[in-house]
């Protein structure tokens, strides 16, 4: 296992220069995510047009995997409606938890850079925190929600 399979250039880049970093004010919905085991924290703010995410930002502190995953996610979901987001989220989760021999599912685009995480089961929660937070934000639309990996 080469370290570069986990820390691909895309991930290092998004960790160093996170996209869509910050807070949308006002926003239509938001959620806080927390991974108490490692102390990662993340706040997502979203603007919606009907069912579609028109804008999204995140802020927080975490490891390279969680920061890059959140940054990549914000890029991927802009312009998607809730159904498309759920479908994409399913594919991401399957990728993160699939066996290391299985082929990486199609249709992930840049998110495929996260597939190396499955070699490191202890790190899956780092990569999935943002997706759990997103699900909480969409489920509690118009308010604010909090989600924890534990």
């Amino acid at each position: 296992m080469d370290l570069k399979d986990l820390y691909r250039d895309v991930i290092l880049d998004h960790n160093k220069n996170p996209r869509n970093f910050g807070k949308l004010e006002p926003c239509d919905t938001s959620a806080d995510g927390h991974n108490p085991l490692c102390g990662d924290r993340l706040t997502l703010t979203l603007r919606l047009e009907g069912d579609t995410v028109s804008d999204v930002r995140f802020e927080g502190k975490g490891c390279a995997i969680s920061t890059a995953s959140a940054s990549l996610m914000t890029e991927a979901i802009k312009g998607l409606d809730e159904r498309a987001i759920t479908a994409l989220s399913d594919v991401v989760h399957r990728t993160l938890t699939s066996s290391t021999e299985a082929a990486v599912p199609e249709g992930l685009g840049k998110l495929a850079a996260l597939s190396g995480v499955r070699e490191y089961p202890a790190r899956v929660k780092c990569a999935s925190l943002c997706w759990h937070t997103l699900a909480a934000a969409l489920a509690h639309r118009g308010g604010s929600a909090a989600v924890s990996t534990e």
């Binding site: 296992m1 370290l3 570069k4 986990l6 820390y7 290092l12 085991l37 490692c38 102390g39 990662d40 502190k61 975490g62 490891c63 390279a64 995997i65 490191y120 202890a122 790190r123 780092c126």
Partner: protein, 413 residues
Amino acid sequence: MSLTEQPLPVYDVERVRRDFPILATTVRGKRLAFLDTAASSQRPAPVIEAIVHYERHLHANVHRGVYELSQKATDAFEAARERVRGFLNARSTREVIFTRGTTESINLVAQSWGRSLRPGDEILISWMEHHANIVPWQMACERSGAVLRVIPIDRRGELDLAAFHRLLSPKTRLVAITQISNSLGTVVPIDEIITAARRNGSLVLVDGAQAVAHQRVDVQALDCDFYAFSSHKLYGPTGMGVLWARESVLAGMPPWQGGGDMIRTVSFEKTTYNELPYRFEAGTPNISGAVGLAAAIDYLESLGIDRVHAHEQALLRYATDALRAIPGLQIIGEAANKAGVISFTLEQVHPHDLGTILDTEGVAVRAGHHCAMPVMDFFGVPATARASFGCYTNREDVDQLIGALHRALEVFG
């Protein structure tokens, strides 16, 4: 040096390493550099063999059967208690209670002795306690209306002793303090704390989890009231620990768990309790665990605790110098008196990424909050990486860590 003092013979760490079968394993194709002894130490062959011998030849339930095997198991179990008594220099085996570990030992005190707490009583702990010496006291305070007070620490990770003396008051019923901080490596001046607390009429509980394997412990010389430690940080098996308690204090404490072994007679009208220490040991105990712990103590004493201590202190100096030379590395916890524990952060690399990168280089360190979240908050970090040493740690382990840190800087550079 006086004429009667002999220099210590050279500590042969390579010979010690050969006693630990697991150190020969490889991880991810690399030599294992095991630097997580503060979380759990590895076990030498004599401990593994003692446990296997017990399981193969001696096992039956203890304190029950009249048959020979049960007597043999009882003898082995009670011999382990005597071994622990000698190790701690306790007055009597009546003061040696077997538990699942340090955590259970502290919970026993919090739940049994803790029943005597009244509203307004105070319990004093320190900022650098492990969660196991925080949460049981929070729970006891919630039940009783007692108040938890916390002795602050400074930026070097040393206890603020002036604050301790100020916090000590007639309301202080108990001072519960770690001997060595698991997250910072600070060696706490518990002698001064115990002396002041006892003069004040307060009891003292010492969390010795990080200390027993690294320095000599004498509970009579310490003059504390409770001393708790775990077997698995002392080269023994997991699920096994000890609470030593002063007999006069134990005598006034009610049982905490009910069941077999802790009773003398049971009827539906009235149950009478067994004598010390069995009153605090309900149910079938961890017999092979006790046997393994005794073997671990034998092993450690065969190496010589003082020599192990000197070896670890030399490694601590070597590793501290090497780590300080790494750009962006910050050591968290720089007390004047430290044990073989070094917590650190690396600028630009989150501790969890660091943990993963070190893992791919065969280096096992703990990355996280070390069950000491208040310490992490104090230093304003979410987590640290922590390298910790034991009797088998050598310079090659440290060099491998340093090499892996350079690799991390390369990846994140």
